[in-house]
Subunit: 280 residues, 2 copies
């Protein structure tokens, strides 16, 4: 009998999955990092017991965090990722031809080191000379940097512990300061099915509205995250993600994706009635 | 410590949830029926250990099975439901004003009897004089009936055991025979995330295409079904679910739904790239 792991999505529910073997376990300065081999999802990485990335469905989250914002901006040249240690988001950003600088600020160097070993398909893109990897506190980086960006992507863990500040207004205000005048911020925004996360979704939406003229939420079916249904929020200073020009850009680029495509870009911004209620 | 129940979505994964207490367990002629009280989902019904309906999120499945087909047809007067013993689908069909006859053919009378006791909000609609409840084999009913319908909804369990025939071409051909010349068939069509279900989705789609001029698939985020992401397929003899006239009908009707709305009707037909690949 193989071991099973339970990833708790609330105190009362979990995604349980079979584990063929444990490939790696180590405590970093910030968290416990585990790599498991599973029949259902291939190799998976857990941070403090929570499923972060799987070989089988990483494409959904990473495509859906990177592409909508990158295509909403007509010329995204300078991109900043906060978090994103497994480099799946980074690899998708580099598919956009106009990008000439990508800075990633990940708190935990060990996450990237372990990903290099177990998810080389994701981390290969780190070798690109356009990429600058910084290991440190993203909140501090945004408070202090004099650099400017066209797009900022927040690729964070859940809003507990070190990632909590990434869901707060002062952080969003720093993002705005660091964005160019027509910049775009996009953040992963948790699952609306989980009762405890609903206030976070609403507050983030309210805070973004207080800072940015254009705020839109969109969803994706991510089977390995809480309740299989995930939100993202885009806050934009000039461009509307639902503008027809975005459609043209997506089709012209002709990226081969496993989840994202031009029509899906637009449909993902149409949310179920109960989710619309959470947003302003 | 409360008991936890695991609903297996494949041999290698499960949705596990806490159970406060067991309210009912009985073996019917066809299956084991259980009603459990849970902190996460309220009251839930399991058939042979598989989560079928929950107080908390039943609205997604039932709204999304009933409304898209009912609004695609301009005048759905006669509706047939195969399965649907918990009566959640039936209750949504009756929200459509033009309906003047609703026949439901459920195999297992005990499912409806138990639902009346534990999900009275769903079964209340059974008392409507337009409703005729038949308990028996839906496949046999469709082979033999001389009645005609505008819309047929297949509200079935997974394609194993008694429900297997509901996913097969001869059954779809019988549905076509029983439909009026401009009739619509809609069926729940499983989760594209589950490896073993992918061939079923593809075959159903191919079989429907061989019988109906218009076939379209759509999705919904159903957190308590396999992998949280569910497909439905509509096969139509005359009306296209993505026609603009459908939008007008939805907004005119002004139903108060918790998941479904006019824009979502259309966005739900836009599927991720990996799902489009499964369909012809």
């Amino acid at each position: 009998m193989n071991r099973w792991h339970s990833d708790y999505h609330s105190p009362h529910r979990a995604l349980s999955f079979e584990v063929t073997r444990s490939l790696y376990t180590e405590k970093s300065e910030y968290q416990e990092i585990e790599i498991l081999e599973t029949p259902e999802f291939g190799k998976v990485m857990l941070l403090d017991g929570v499923l972060m990335v799987t070989e089988k469905d990483e494409f959904v989250y990473h495509e859906m965090l990177a592409h909508p914002a990158l295509f909403t901006h007509p010329k995204p040249a300078r991109v900043l990722i906060i978090g994103g240690g497994d480099c799946g988001t980074l690899s998708r950003v580099l598919m956009h031809k106009g990008v000439d600088k990508l800075v990633q600020v990940e708190l935990d160097e060990m996450v990237t080191r372990v990903s290099r070993e177990y998810f080389p398909a994701l981390t290969a893109a780190c070798e690109d000379p356009l990429v600058e990897l910084i290991f440190g506190d993203g909140i501090k980086y945004l408070r202090e940097t004099q650099a400017k960006f066209d797009v900022i992507l927040i690729d964070s863990t859940d809003p507990v512990g070190p990632a909590e500040g990434l869901f707060r207004r002062p952080f969003f205000a720093d993002c705005k300061r660091v964005l160019n005048d027509d910049g775009i911020l996009c953040l992963q925004s948790e699952s609306p099915w989980i009762e405890d996360l609903r206030p976070v979704i609403s507050e983030v939406n309210r805070d973004l509205h207080s800072l940015f003229p254009i705020v839109r939420a969109y969803s994706a079916a991510i089977q390995t995250y809480q309740a299989g249904f995930w939100l993202f929020q885009i806050a934009s200073l000039a461009y509307d993600p639902c503008d027809q020009a975005v459609y043209e850009r997506i089709t012209e680029a002709g990226l081969k994706c496993s989840y994202y495509h031009a029509n899906l870009h637009f449909s993902s911004f149409v949310l179920p009635a109960f989710v619309e209620k959470l947003l302003n």
